[in-house]
C-alpha cells in the first residue's frame, strides 16, 4: 500500500499513519522549534512554540500534538507562524523570572536560545510577581518555580520516561504549579530522585543542588563513561571543570536510553572526598605509617616469595573486584596465576 502524503512547505512528503506533523517535519529535515516536546512521551502541546499553519484549519496548530493527515498542506514558517511564535515566546519570558545573569541554565536554556533566535530584546508585557517560594530544602534538586514555564516536560519525564509517577499539574490558571502528591517537597513525596525531571527541564527551574555555582555549561568538559554502580551499565556524561566532576547527566546508551537513577546521577562526588587514600600505608606495631611505593611494593613481593618458598603458592589467595575494570581484573588473575603460581583467585560474584 502506498504511504499517505502531505505537503510540507510546498513539497509533497510521505509519512507513517500515527506520526505527528512535527515528526514528519523532523524526518524530512525541516526544523520546527520546540520547548515542551519530549521524544517518546505523550505530547502535551503546552508551550505553543511549535505552531504551524495547516491550510483550512481554524487556527495555527501545535505540530507536536497534531497527527499528520493525508493531503494536509503544512507551512512551518509563514508570517503568521513567525508572529505567533514570537508572541508566545515573549509571553513565556514575561511569565516569570527569566533573568539569565546568575541562572544555572545560562548557555543551555532553550527559552534563552529561542529569545535569541527570534531577536526578542524587550518584553511588552508586565509579568506576575513570584507566586511560589523556591524549594531548596530537599537534598539534591532545587525547584525554582519563578523560572518554571509550565511546559510539563518534567511531568512527562517522571510519568512516561521513568514511570515514577511522582509529579503532575496542580492548581489552575495563573496559579498553576508542577506538584507532587499533596504539593509536598520532593523528599517528602513519592519522588525517588532519579533526576529525570532535571534532564527534561529546558530552563533553569530545576537544577542540581550540588552543581550550583560550580560552572556554566560552556565551561564544562563532557566525558562519556559507564555508571559505576549496578549491572545495567547506564551511559552517562561527566561534566568536568578543571579537575572536578561537577555534575552527571544521562547519555543515550543502549541499556539506559537517556535515563539514570539516583545513584548514577548523584553518586559521583566520592571521588573528590578528602578521605581518599593518597599514599601507600604499611602497618607497624598496629599502626599505619606512610610508605613509598617502592617500599610497599617491595614488601609485598618479598612476603610472597617467602610464603611461596615455605608453604607453596597455594598459601596465597586473592579476591578480585567486580567494582573495577575488566583490564584490572584480567591483570589481577594473571598476577596470581602467572606471577605467583596459584589459581586461588575469586571475587564476590555472589553478592
Amino acid at each position: 500500500m502506498a504511504k499517505p502524503t502531505l505537503t510540507l512547505n510546498g513539497k509533497p512528503v510521505e509519512f507513517e499513519p500515527g506520526q505527528t506533523i512535527l515528526e514528519v517535519a523532523l524526518n524530512n529535515g525541516v526544523e520546527i522549534p520546540t520547548l515542551c516536546y519530549l521524544k517518546d512521551a505523550t505530547p502535551t502541546g503546552a508551550c505553543r512554540v511549535c505552531l504551524v499553519e495547516v491550510k483550512g484549519a481554524r487556527t495555527l496548530v501545535a505540530s507536536c500534538a497534531m497527527p499528520a493527515g493525508p493531503g494536509m498542506e503544512v507551512t512551518t514558517d509563514s508570517q503568521a507562524v513567525h508572529t505567533s511564535r514570537r508572541l508566545n515566546i515573549e509571553l513565556l519570558l514575561a511569565s516569570g523570572n527569566h533573568n539569565c545573569l546568575t541562572c544555572e541554565a545560562n548557555g543551555r536554556c532553550k527559552l534563552q536560545a529561542l529569545a535569541y533566535k527570534y531577536g526578542i530584546t524587550d518584553i511588552r508585557f508586565k509579568g506576575q510577581t513570584q507566586q511560589y517560594a523556591t524549594e531548596d530544602e530537599n537534598p539534591l534538586i532545587v525547584r525554582d518555580f519563578s523560572r518554571c514555564i509550565l511546559c510539563g516536560r518534567c511531568v512527562q519525564a517522571c510519568n512516561d520516561v521513568q514511570v515514577n509517577r511522582a509529579i503532575g499539574y496542580g492548581y489552575r490558571g495563573a496559579a498553576s504549579k508542577i506538584v507532587t502528591t499533596g504539593d509536598r517537597p520532593y523528599h517528602h513525596s513519592d519522588c525517588v530522585f532519579c533526576g529525570q525531571c532535571l534532564e527534561a527541564c529546558p530552563v533553569g527551574a530545576l537544577v542540581e543542588k550540588k552543581a550550583k555555582g560550580q560552572g556554566r555549561s560552556y565551561e564544562l568538559k563532557q566525558v562519556r563513561t559507564t555508571c559505576p554502580y549496578c549491572g545495567v551499565g547506564c551511559q552517562m556524561l561527566l561534566h568536568v571543570k578543571g579537575d572536578r566532576i561537577v555534575k552527571v547527566t544521562a547519555a543515550q546508551g543502549p541499556a539506559n536510553k537517556g535515563r539514570l537513577c539516583v545513584k548514577g546521577r548523584f553518586g559521583y562526588d566520592f571521588v573528590h572526598s578528602p578521605e581518599r587514600l593518597t599514599t601507600p600505608l604499611i602497618k607497624e606495631d598496629g599502626q599505619f605509617r606512610e610508605a613509598s611505593w617502592d617500599e610497599a611494593l617491595g614488601l609485598v613481593a618479598k612476603k610472597f616469595k617467602e610464603i611461596k618458598k615455605e608453604h607453596g603458592a597455594g598459601a596465597i589467595a586473592g579476591l578480585s573486584s567486580a567494582r573495577t575494570t575488566n583490564e584490572e581484573n584480567y591483570l589481577f588473575q594473571k598476577l596470581f596465576r602467572a606471577g605467583i603460581g596459584t589459581n586461588n583467585v575469586d571475587h564476590c560474584a555472589r553478592l
Binding site: 581518599r276 593518597t278 597455594g314 586473592g318 567486580a322 573495577t324
Partner: protein
C-alpha cells in the same frame, strides 16, 4: 551463573535491556528491580504502560510489584516448589511448546516425572499461596509467546540457588521461550562489572573467556601466552579461602576493592578470618572496615580516574573513561599489579587499559576476539563477538540453538533454607539493597545528599508483627540470630508479610550481616543471604 551454564551452556543474561519495554509478558522473580536496578525497572514499567503483562513473584510487595497485574507472594526460599508447581500445571494442561522441547532439549521425561509430584496442592502449600493463584499464573505465563523471565539475587542467594536458577531455565525451555527476542532467562547482575570479572577469569576454575583451568589444551594456550608453567588444579573459592585463613593454611590474602568485613555473612566470623591471616594486602580508594586488618594498603585510582571497560549484565563491553587525575600518589590498580609482577621477575609489556585489552584479553578470549577499543567508542559491543566484522550478539541461543547444543532440563526437588524459623527465632530474615545506597556505602556514603535521603539501617517488619510485638514505626528493636544481634529502628511497612524481617547491609551499625547465616549453595558457594531465622524484640 553455574546454573545457567549447566542448563544452556552459557552463564549469562540471554537477552538485552532494549527488549524489556518491547516484551509482551514479563515474569519477574526475586528482583527488587525499582531499587536495585532502577533503570531496568523503568523499562519494565514502560512495558506495562504500553500494555504488557507483568507477573511479580516475591515475598515482599516491592516497588515493581505495584505495577504488576499479578503479584505472587511466595514464601522465602520456596522458589523450586513454586516453579515445579507451575510446570506441573503447564504439562498437565499440555501448554508446553512440545515441538521446541523435542527439537532443542534433553531430559524432558525426567522433568515431567519430577514435576508430576508437585501438584498445585503441594506446591501452593510450600509456597504459601492459594492453589487457584498458582494455576492462574501457570496459564498466564503460558499464554504469551515469547515471555521474558527476569531474576536477581532473590533466586541465587540461597543454599539451593543453583537449583532455583535451573528451575527458571526449566520453565523457560518448557515454554519454548529461550532463544527469542523478548524472551529468555535474564539475571540482572548486582555490580557494575560482575559480568566482566567472571569474563576475565577472576574465578578459581577458569581463565579469561571461561576456558577451563583443568583443560590441558586451555592451560597450554595460556602457558604459551604468558610464558610460564601454570598450576593444574582449580583454586579456592572465597568461602574456602576464609576457612583457610581461619585454619592457617592461607598465609596471605590480597583483597582488591571490596569491603568484606561488612558484605559477607556473619561479620564476627569474617573479621576473625581477616584477623587470623598472616599477611593481608588491600587496594582501596578509602579506609574501610576491611582495610583495618591490612598489613599493606595500596591507594587506588577510582572510577573516572583511569581508562578501561566494564561489561554490563547483557554482556556488553562499554568504555569507562578518565575524567580527572587520581589524588596524591594513588595509582591505577593494573599499575600496582604490574609493579608487583615485575618484582616477582615478570616483565609485562601492556601498560594501559587499552593495551591490556587489545593485546591480551581480546586475543586470549575467543568470544571477545572482535572487541577492540577502536570499536567501543559509542555503544560498546555484546559478546560473543568472535571477529572484528561481527556486530555482537543481543540474544543468546538464537532459535533454541543452545551454546551447549541441546538445552538441559534438570529434574529438581525443593529443599528448605538451611535455617528455618523455630520457637526461639520465629521470624525469617531476608536481606538486600535499598535505593539510596550501594553496598557498604564506601562510595555513596561520601556523596552529598544521599545520607540525607537514607541515614540509617532499619528492620522492616509487617504491620501484623509490629502489633504483636507492640512496636510502632521508628521504635528501636533488637534483632538477633544465632550469630549476633543489632539494635535498629523498626520500619513498619505493608511491603513485608507477616513472619518476615527485611534488612540491608549498607550501614556498619545495624548491618544485616551481623545476623546472616554463612551457609552456601554447594555448587556456586553463594551464601544464603536471603534466609535465616531471627527474633525481634522491643529494645
Amino acid at each position: 551463573m553455574a546454573g545457567l551454564a549447566a542448563s544452556f551452556g552459557s552463564g549469562a543474561m540471554t537477552n538485552s535491556f532494549a527488549e524489556f519495554d518491547q516484551a509482551k509478558l514479563l515474569l519477574v522473580i526475586g528482583s527488587n528491580t525499582t531499587e536495585a536496578h532502577p533503570v531496568a525497572g523503568a523499562f519494565i514499567k514502560r512495558a506495562v504502560q504500553k500494555g504488557a503483562q507483568l507477573i511479580v513473584v516475591d515475598p515482599r510487595f516491592t516497588g515493581i510489584a505495584e505495577h504488576a497485574q499479578t503479584f505472587v507472594p511466595i514464601k522465602v526460599g520456596s522458589d523450586v516448589a513454586f516453579l515445579n508447581g507451575l510446570m506441573h500445571v503447564i504439562i498437565k494442561e499440555n501448554l508446553q511448546d512440545q515441538a521446541y522441547v523435542d527439537a532443542h532439549t534433553t531430559g524432558f521425561n525426567e522433568l515431567k516425572a519430577k514435576v508430576a509430584e508437585y501438584t498445585p496442592k503441594k506446591a501452593a502449600k510450600i509456597a504459601g499461596i492459594s492453589e487457584e493463584l498458582l494455576v492462574r499464573v501457570a496459564r498466564q505465563v503460558a499464554s504469551v509467546k515469547p515471555a521474558m523471565l527476569i531474576y536477581t539475587l532473590g533466586i541465587t542467594e540461597h543454599t539451593c540457588g543453583v537449583n532455583n536458577v535451573r528451575s527458571c531455565a526449566n520453565l523457560q525451555m518448557l515454554l519454548g521461550n529461550v532463544g527469542y527476542d523478548c524472551g529468555g532467562v535474564n539475571p540482572l547482575r548486582g555490580q557494575n562489572n560482575v559480568q566482566g570479572a567472571c569474563d576475565m577469569g577472576a574465578l578459581p576454575n577458569v581463565y579469561p573467556g571461561y576456558q577451563k583451568v583443568e583443560d590441558k589444551a586451555a592451560r597450554a594456550k595460556f602457558e604459551e601466552a604468558w610464558g610460564v608453567k601454570l598450576p593444574k588444579k582449580n583454586g579456592l573459592m572465597m568461602p574456602q579461602m576464609f576457612e583457610g585463613m581461619a585454619d592457617g593454611s592461607i598465609k596471605a590474602l590480597w583483597v582488591f576493592g571490596e569491603n568484606l568485613a561488612n558484605t559477607e555473612p556473619d561479620i564476627r566470623h569474617v573479621e576473625h578470618c581477616l584477623e587470623s591471616v598472616e599477611f593481608l594486602i588491600c587496594n582501596d580508594i578509602f579506609p574501610t572496615e576491611t582495610t583495618r586488618f591490612a598489613d599493606v594498603i595500596f591507594p587506588a585510582a577510582a572510577w573516572s580516574e583511569d581508562d578501561g571497560t566494564f561489561s554490563n549484565s547483557e554482556r556488553r563491553v562499554q568504555r569507562v573513561r578518565k575524567a580527572v587525575e587520581p589524588p596524591g600518589e594513588a595509582k591505577p590498580n593494573w599499575w600496582i599489579f604490574r609493579e608487583v609482577a615485575a618484582r616477582l621477575g615478570k616483565e609485562w609489556k601492556s601498560k594501559s587499559g587499552q593495551e591490556i585489552w587489545d593485546k591480551e584479553v581480546s586475543k586470549l578470549a575467543p568470544a571477545l576476539g572482535g572487541i577492540k577499543y577502536s570499536r567501543l567508542e559509542n555503544d560498546g559491543l555484546q559478546w560473543p563477538c568472535p571477529d572484528t566484522k561481527h556486530s555482537g550478539t543481543t540474544c543468546l541461543h538464537k532459535d533454541g540453538c543452545f551454546t551447549c547444543g541441546m538445552g538441559n532440563f534438570q529434574a529438581l526437588d525443593w529443599t528448605p533454607p538451611a535455617e528455618v524459623p523455630d520457637k526461639k527465632y520465629p521470624l525469617v530474615l531476608s536481606t538486600g539493597r535499598r535505593l539510596y545506597h550501594y553496598h557498604t556505602r564506601t562510595q555513596t556514603g561520601r556523596c552529598g545528599g544521599l545520607n540525607d535521603l537514607l541515614g540509617q539501617e532499619t528492620a522492616d517488619i509487617s504491620l501484623a508483627d509490629a502489633a504483636l510485638l507492640g512496636v510502632a514505626d521508628g521504635d528501636l528493636v533488637r534483632v538477633s540470630s544465632r550469630r549476633g544481634q543489632v539494635v535498629v529502628k523498626a520500619k513498619v511497612t505493608p511491603q513485608v508479610p507477616q513472619g518476615m524481617v527485611w534488612m540491608a547491609f549498607h550501614f556498619r551499625e545495624g548491618n544485616a550481616n551481623w545476623l546472616t547465616n554463612p551457609v552456601y549453595d554447594p555448587i556456586s558457594l553463594t551464601a544464603e543471604y536471603k534466609a535465616c531465622a531471627v527474633k525481634v524484640e522491643k529494645a
